[in-house]
Amino acid sequence: MPTVIFQLPDGTERKVTAASGTALMQAAVSNGVPGIVAECGGNASCATCHVYVDAAQSESAGPPNDVEDEMLDFTASERRPTSRLSCQLQLSDALDGLVVHVPEEQV
């Protein structure tokens, strides 16, 4: 099962393990990772599960899909080239050890 490291704005980090195929947002919410709000429950309607994928791994995580790309223009914290909505990012064994940064604000 892949492991993901969430780096929080206060400098601490949280390590979460979840089954392949789980959305990164779901892994965060199920494990109580603070700062992943996910108001819409994973439907790419609310833009409150924003994360920055660590620059070194951004390519393997892949680009945002179309619906996600639109929503990323409306996040509370600035959009960066590494921005993803965690509800649209599926975990896989290839992403084991993924590091993502949780932004300062989601709402």
Partner: protein, 407 residues
């Protein structure tokens, strides 16, 4: 599973008077949060769930807290619709209807028309020096915007506003008043006719509207489904942005210092929007029905139990929001519950945010110079609750009388 119309064993029973709730529900909610965070309220016929964490928990478990509440007032008013469906049927309808309300579409397709309409409405009243900003501005603005986004080209803003009022009265008709049912039925028949006509046109000429989007959706959508979902959208689509506009304008006019800061920093209108929606949530509660036995807030609810998620109360929960009864645009960012959560997260959120915080408020405060509450209208927020704000299922200002220096 038939809904259970009695209290769950062990649930505290709390009598609340509906007229008191309409006047000001917040003291009752504070007491419930403190002493009975899940309570059976006979006059509502449901268990009220009032703490923030419990509401969020329930919203994230749609397979237990089902939207398919049998005998719900909304079902009676408009018929089967996506708000009272669970996935996958909810998702099929939501995906068909949602694209025109997404933020980029709002910006690219609708924003210019929203702004034009707002200017036209202000042109009409600017020379008068006084107005009721609810009846003369906010309601016609959001109704016209809604007609546009839905694709109801032949409906006037007045039609939309009347239909909305009639249906919303039905949706909150917990007292079962027959006249209210009759009015709601007349409105829904009229909407069905208007949607059928618009659907015919959109079938030939797609126009980016909600009706057009549903007609041309990948998954099949029946005309009756489009009609019923348009009814739901008209019901909420007028009230909610109108009420956020009214309450936010009221809050700022009562706080000139805050208003000055907002006018000096237009980016802060967004904060005003979110804080207003938290402070006085336009939708105060919505119902769920349990698909299985489940324990929440210390009570084991049997399958079939009816629960009202009281988001207006969650948004005043002191455990999450310090000095929760105060309007404070500088409070630490915490997500409020006004748009609901989970799969039913408000479809109109991006439309409402734009039309109210990017258009309606900035234009009203910049064009109407020296805007102030009309003589006698100035009052503390607690006094205002008695006279001007109304409702608990849906809550907002019934009027907002203001004056300004007419040019």
């Amino acid at each position: 599973m038939s809904p259970l119309t009695t209290a769950a064993p062990g649930a505290p029973v709390v009598d609340l008077d509906l007229a008191d709730l309409r006047r000001d529900p917040y003291p009752a909610y504070a007491e419930l949060r403190r002493t009975a965070p899940l309570a059976w309220v006979p006059s509502v016929g449901r268990h009220l769930l009032t703490r923030y964490e419990d509401i969020v928990h329930a919203e994230k478990l749609p397979e237990v807290f089902s939207s398919r509440e049998e005998g719900s007032l909304l079902l009676r008013t408009v018929g089967p619709n996506m708000l009272r469906e669970d996935d996958p049927n909810h998702r099929r309808l939501r995906s068909a209807a949602e694209p025109p309300t997404r933020p980029r579409q709002v910006r690219d397709l609708w924003a210019a028309s929203f702004e034009r309409t707002a200017h036209e409405l202000l042109d009409r009243i600017a020379g008068r020096g006084e107005a009721d900003l609810i009846a003369d501005f906010a309601e016609p603005l959001v109704a016209a915007n809604l007609a546009l986004v839905l694709g109801l080209r032949t409906a006037s803003a007045e039609d939309i506003a009347d239909w909305s009022r009639a249906m919303m009265a039905g949706n909150s008709n917990y007292a079962d008043d027959p006249d209210i049912w009759l009015r709601a039925e007349r409105a829904t028949r009229a909407i069905e006719g208007a949607v059928a006509e618009a659907a015919e046109t959109a079938r030939r000429e797609p126009d980016g509207s909600v009706i057009s989007s549903m007609i041309h959706a990948a998954g099949p959508v029946e005309l009756a489904e489009i009609q019923n979902n348009v009814k739901v959208i008209i019901g909420g689509g007028v009230n909610e942005p109108r009420d956020v506009f009214g309450v936010g304008a009221w809050a700022l006019l009562n706080r000139p210092g805050v208003l000055d800061r907002v006018l000096a920093d237009p980016a802060s209108w967004k904060r005003v929007f979110e804080e207003t929606a938290r402070w006085v949530s336009p939708i105060g509660m919505y119902p769920r029905q349990l698909t299985q036995e489940y324990e929440i807030a210390g009570v084991t609810l049997p399958a079939g139990s009816r629960v009202a998620l009281v988001i207006a109360s969650g948004n005043r929960d002191e455990a999450v929001f310090e000095r929760a009864d105060e309007f404070d645009i500088d409070r630490p960012h915490r997500p409020h519950l006004a748009f609901g959560g989970g799969p039913h997260f408000c479809m109109g959120a991006w439309v409402a945010r734009h039309e109210v915080s990017a258009i309606a408020w900035p234009l009203v405060f910049s064009r109407l110079k020296g805007l102030r509450l009309a003589e006698g209208a100035t009052a503390s927020d607690s006094d205002s609750a008695a006279g001007r704000m109304d409702g608990w299922v849906f809550r907002g200002l019934t009027s907002l009388n203001v004056t300004w220096q007419a040019a």
